[in-house]
Assembly symmetry: C2
């Protein structure tokens, strides 16, 4: 159901290793991974962060959170809010196509919404 | 000293409203703002987040944090780590040139380092 959408994210973005649909409280809905990325652990840790950012954006009155990106030496994580309860995320290698990841996540959100 | 670098970020990036050099513990070093963006408050709130992300990246062993982006309905915030103590951030309108912001921040880091 969701796995097909997640697989397409990973296959369409150069350098993508995994994709995940998760609740803001850290519960995984579905995931797809290629290779050795532990997307569940990444998603769980960063879901707390997404919740923190969502709250901060609300306090600062800068509109709803839409997107987040974190880049480390080894990894790029791109997050896209689906609705108030869920977010999509994909993990890329640090030289992965970040612009394409943003684009593909944005396109995937309405397709995910159709399944709700 | 730093203000000149911060001013150049704001002037060179389409849609940029403010730039800030801050310690990870939330203490402002210097800032430059055009218009009504309260970059100090944004920086202070998000510095906690940067510290949180830095710690999470370390726990997950995905290399040092380099960059972060948060996009809300009204605002794009781009963060670039300078060293283990400081980060640069710029606030853009939500239709601002995010790619240019990343590029200019990356170029500015070595210039900031020269002043240390």
């Amino acid at each position: 159901m969701f796995k097909e959408h997640l697989r397409k994210i990973v296959e369409n973005v150069e350098g993508a290793k995994a994709a995940l649909l998760m609740e803001f409280d850290g519960i995984q809905v579905d995931s797809y991974a290629q290779g050795d990325v532990d997307i569940i652990t990444l998603g769980t840790e960063f879901s707390q962060l997404m919740t923190h950012v969502k709250r901060t954006a609300s306090i600062l009155e800068v509109g709803d959170l839409e997107e987040m990106m974190v880049k480390t030496e080894d990894l790029i994580l791109v997050f896209r809010v689906v609705n108030s309860d869920y977010f999509l995320t994909t993990a890329l290698s640090s030289d992965g196509n970040f612009g394409k990841a943003r684009f593909v996540l944005r396109l995937t959100v309405p397709r995910i919404m159709e399944e709700f």
